[in-house]
Symmetry: C2
Subunit: 224 residues, 2 copies
Amino acid sequence: MKRLKVSNNVIRRLPRYLRKLDELTEQGVTRVSSQELGQQLGLTPSQIRQDFSCFGEFGQQGYGYHVPALRAQVAAILGMDRNYRAVLIGVGNIGHALIDNFCFSDWGVRLTAAFDVKPEVIGTTFNKVPVLSMEELPRYLDENEIDIAVLTVPKDAALPVTRILTGHGVEAIWNFTNVELTEPNSSVLVENIHFSDSLLSLSYYISERADEKAAKAARRERKG
Amino acid sequence: MKRLKVSNNVIRRLPRYLRKLDELTEQGVTRVSSQELGQQLGLTPSQIRQDFSCFGEFGQQGYGYHVPALRAQVAAILGMDRNYRAVLIGVGNIGHALIDNFCFSDWGVRLTAAFDVKPEVIGTTFNKVPVLSMEELPRYLDENEIDIAVLTVPKDAALPVTRILTGHGVEAIWNFTNVELTEPNSSVLVENIHFSDSLLSLSYYISERADEKAAKAARRERKG
DNA sequence: TAGATTGTTAATCGATTAACAATC
DNA sequence: TAGATTGTTAATCGATTAACAATC
């Protein structure tokens, strides 16, 4: 597979392609053109062809793309067939919700253990995932090759726990703590789920729309 | 406040500015230059000045920016002082976690009610938020001006519930369902939290790094 | 006043879109 | 074969960066 200087924008679109291709599969559609795909995703056909061409030639002239084949390619590009292993740190409300409801295996990731400091959860099992003591974390990381740490601890614990993780070979953190983890010196990959950023963007767009409406109304007022 | 043709990229950076300004406030820093701010956020000073200049003139030559003043401006731009009202639909694991742990009021949003179909949760209260029957939703929306619906229902319910929401005046949906809601005809604002998209991006970056390492190793192999 | 730093205009860079030859 | 649609090269558009006069 090609993989050269792919822009962030392209990468962020890949999961959307995957989602749409799964939807088409469900609908029994086996063939799709960049034209149709673009229509359904609100993108131009050009962009879609450009995006895929970063990684190879997945289509066929005069025909378009074979949905299952393209789906497999996108999945491979995203690393879904690499069986990454993950642990989850912090079995609070969000952590618990993720263990119970988020189907890691659907996305090619195996969640093998969770960690917490609370005695009442240590030793229990949620959705087949055992909850171990936080004290066992370093040893566990040393003995198992863990690629991803799902970080769902309280704010204060975010940085200390991150230091343990990076100190024991974890290369990627899926961060739910709303704390900016990316330290300049560190080379760990961080992907943030910032709930508040998302809500605030929405709040911005609502405000923008409201202001536009108000401005329009004001203009009408002045005129008539 | 100015508010003209602001690009999506700028808007997505605003919450990060807010977060950093709050951090500086906590540290007792009252003054910051675009230089320093850029350093801490990994952005160029130019970009930061450009971004703010979309909305007004918040700085002072030779001095920089007054942190509390700038913070207030950014908060206002994001609509945090507009007291938007929200309801949450679907008190499952994630919905419950949000009610209990996500501090809506910190971001200027009031969560006034939650809705569900399960008899065992209807009538209960979490974190002062009452859980009402799904059947009451239309009436509730008619009688209260709700700006935002937090959608945390199971996949299958996503579209039917969305129709109820848009049919009763909700203009914005904060979507946790991993279902593409944005219908072409609808004018409702949708902001998605796609956990899987985020995890897959991370998976991509891990794979990219692994491939680079492998390629480097292969080159070394060939040479010596 | 001299130094610092803004807001803004111009230059650069990168991403998206358009066009089209290649070909199924 | 004729029509359709790709992959890719060129053109356009927009976003980021650099430069600098204005000014605190």
